[in-house]
């Protein structure tokens, strides 16, 4: 085997790719060859490091030096100075808000040192295109061990871990597996939900791109537990890049016999097929997703019956989120007690969040459940850019709630956020500074819902449209107190009568902002002014 004294890991996650990491990598390979270092230095494409805001990101081992915002023009200097002479290129180091001098190794950067990586343990460390590197990190060990257990023992282990679904609803994973395992029927299916349409969420894509085998392994274990021989990954149509990566990973797993017939000589057979959507947020809802996989319009079905008993083609089906499944191998390998030692009693483990909006370190992070919103925003997220003030954080994506500064100390776990009037949801976390108007973003949320409502049930189809119109009226300073009352009544109807959670949660952002930012509503309605100056500006332009 060849030995390289240095490994250069270049991020090939989507965000860095769009910032030009491919041309950086190409330039690097070229320059290393030109300087005759290609027998000593290896260049590896890896998954998202998380610090996407500072992309393209690159880490050079063995020193673990972390470079940010690298452009092809920097490459010559990196090779000449760092790789040849061992002199760190200071100007490319990560610098926090208050720091003048850069931080050298990624392990010292606050952004990383405060995280706890379980799901993302391999992201930014291995080459996702190499199953060998995954195996080097204990990959597929859990599958081998699970296949020596009884399916019910596997389910028990997941139950004991307390893992709850990471797709939004937070349903206990072990219990869901148990239902599917006990459902009558020989043919059962496992579906990995990679639809990921929640605005502000891109974790599933980066997990699948950065460590595809952790999801494949998780799926194989889940399938064994519930008694499925066939699995699917449902991607949203926009995720072409991830689909290619995953196809490659599936081929590798098959070549090693980790998918296919008689895995590890256990008698268990399982394979995975990729399905692709065509652009519809509602298809993330599990029954709509099943309809879409059957080639139909992605309209949610009535529940019950739940997919666990009547799912894909009428067969018992278990639908799990990407992140949920990526947790499974670690749980089997390290045990339920280990998993419970992370996070809170009711929400063990970690959560992957995507930080977006007005925040310095926009990107992907993984932290123990129960960490406070303040820690995430300031210690890891690096605070608000351009010296502006924090105004609002929306947790759980567009259907989540909007929290004010006074609630910055809320613990980020499923139950605490629900108690605070918001939701953990998919892990989207959007930060907004004081230059924005609450009414204006709420309008933006509602625009999303009226666009994405599938139109099947009236409360949701009509409700999302009317809600939008009412908030639009507020933004045009034409609303009265009566309209506010109307919003409340409409919201209640939608929550009670919508068929699926899309309609049920659509009023959420309106209700939480009415509760936490009443002064903004008052300003628009009573005083006819927009404190942030956004709404007035819009109407003047129109």
């Amino acid at each position: 085997m060849e030995f390289f004294r240095s490994h250069v890991l270049v991020c090939s996650g989507v965000n860095c790719s769009f910032r030009g990491s491919r041309s950086v990598r190409a330039a690097l390979v070229e320059e290393i060859r030109a300087q005759g270092l290609d027998k000593e230095v290896r260049v590896i494409e890896t998954g998202c490091f998380g610090l996407c805001e500072a992309g393209p990101v690159m880490v050079i081992y063995p020193e673990a030096v972390h470079y940010c915002r690298v452009v092809p023009d920097d490459v010559k200097e990196i090779v000449e100075e760092h790789l040849r002479k061992g002199r760190i290129v200071d100007r490319l180091l990560y610098k926090g808000e208050a720091q003048v001098k850069g931080v050298q190794t990624w392990r010292q950067i606050d952004f990383y040192s405060r995280q706890k990586r379980v799901v993302l343990r391999n992201c930014g460390l291995i080459d996702p295109d190499s199953i060998d590197e995954y195996i080097a990190r204990e990959g597929y060990e859990a599958l081998g061990r699970a296949l020596r257990m009884q399916p019910m023992e596997v389910i028990q282990a997941v139950k004991d871990s307390g893992l709850r679904g990471r797709g939004g609803a937070g349903f206990p994973t072990g219990l869901k597996w148990d239902f599917t395992a006990r459902a009558a029927g020989d043919q059962k299916y496992l579906i990995c939900n990679a639809d990921e349409g929640e605005p502000g969420t891109f974790k599933d894509r980066l997990i699948l791109e950065g460590d595809p085998h952790s999801v494949i392994e998780g799926m194989a274990i889940a399938a064994y537990a519930i008694g499925a021989s066939k699995g699917f990954i449902y991607f949203r149509g926009e995720y072409k890049l991830s689909i290619d990566r995953l196809t490659h990973a599936l081929e590798q797993a098959r070549a090693y016999g980790l998918l296919g017939k008689n895995i590890f000589d256990s008698g268990f057979s399982f394979d995975i097929e990729i399905k692709v959507g065509a652009g519809a947020y509602v298809c993330g809802e599990e029954t709509a997703l099943i309809n879409s996989m059957e080639g139909k319009r992605g309209e949610p079905r009535f529940k019950p019956p739940y997919p666990a008993s009547v799912g894909l083609w009428g067969k018992p089906t278990c639908v799990n989120n990407v992140e949920t499944l990526a947790n499974i191998p670690s749980i089997i390998r390290q045990g339920a007690d280990w998993f419970r030692s992370i996070g809170t009693a009711k929400c063990p483990g970690t959560k992957v969040f995507t930080l977006t909006g007005n925040i310095n370190n926009a990107g992907l992070i993984e932290v123990p459940m129960g960490i406070t919103l303040r820690e995430v925003v300031y210690d890891i997220g690096g605070g608000i850019p351009h010296g502006r003030a924090f105004k609002m954080a929306q947790t759980g994506g567009t259907s989540g709630g909007c929290l004010p500064e006074a609630l910055l100390d809320v613990p980020m776990d499923i139950d605490s956020l629900a108690t605070a009037g918001s939701a953990l949801g998919s892990g989207a976390l959007m930060i907004m500074d004081d230059s924005h108007c609450i009414i204006d973003v709420v309008k933006c949320f509602l625009q999303f819902f009226r666009h994405e409502s599938c139109g099947q049930c009236t409360p949701c189809r009509e409700g999302t449209q009317r809600l939008y119109e009412l908030v639009d009226k507020i933004s045009r300073m034409e609303a009265t107190e009566k309209d506010v009352e109307l919003i409340r009544r409409l919201a209640r109807t939608m929550e009670d009568a919508s068929l699926c959670a899309l309609g049920q949660t659509a009023p959420f952002p309106v209700l939480t902002t009415m509760r936490f930012f009443p002064e903004e509503y008052e300003a628009h309605i009573v005083h006819g002014m927009c404190p942030a100056g956004v709404c007035a500006a819009a109407s003047q332009i129109a």
Binding site: M1, F3, F4, R5, S6, H7, L9, E40, Y61, P62, E63, A64, R84, K85, G86, R87, R107, L125, I126, D132, E133, I135, A136, R137, E138, G139, Y140, E141, G144, R145, R148, A255, Y256, G257, L258, G260, F264, D265
Partner: protein
């Protein structure tokens, strides 16, 4: 190749771990080669390549070779620092590929500092 058992997986894993060890290391012995312009002129690259090769041959896994810029001792180049956890930093001067190889055997493997090559010793304050 289809894997049939956990043992086969383990074998593959051990092999594969070699590839990524470099990235997981947080502690362990560090060998630092001075790679300033003067160091390179004095033959530091040959020294470094010899070190890497020797470590590889001896299958020494917990040792990393890194580089550093000019240390200001240009006339004693090529310089090599050896930092072992909990021991003072040893700096060797006037290194050659030959000397580097024997240093690996006696210092890294057997813990015997080669006194005659040493030009500085410094307690690791950090």
């Amino acid at each position: 190749m289809k894997m049939k058992s956990l043992d086969e997986l383990k074998k593959l894993r051990e092999k594969a771990q070699e590839t990524i060890r470099l990235r997981e290391q947080e502690e362990g012995t560090k060998i630092v080669v001075g790679m300033g312009t003067c160091g390179i002129a004095a033959g530091a690259r040959e020294v470094m390549l010899a070190l890497v090769d020797e470590l590889q041959k001896k299958n020494l896994k917990d040792v990393v070779v890194t580089q550093t810029g000019c240390a200001g001792l240009c006339e004693k180049e090529p310089l090599v620092d050896v930092i072992r956890p909990g021991e003072p930093k040893i700096t060797y001067g006037y290194m050659t590929a030959e000397k580097a190889r024997s240093m690996v055997t006696s210092h890294i493997v057997n813990g015997q500092v080669i006194g005659e090559y040493v030009i500085a010793r410094e307690d690791s304050g950090d």
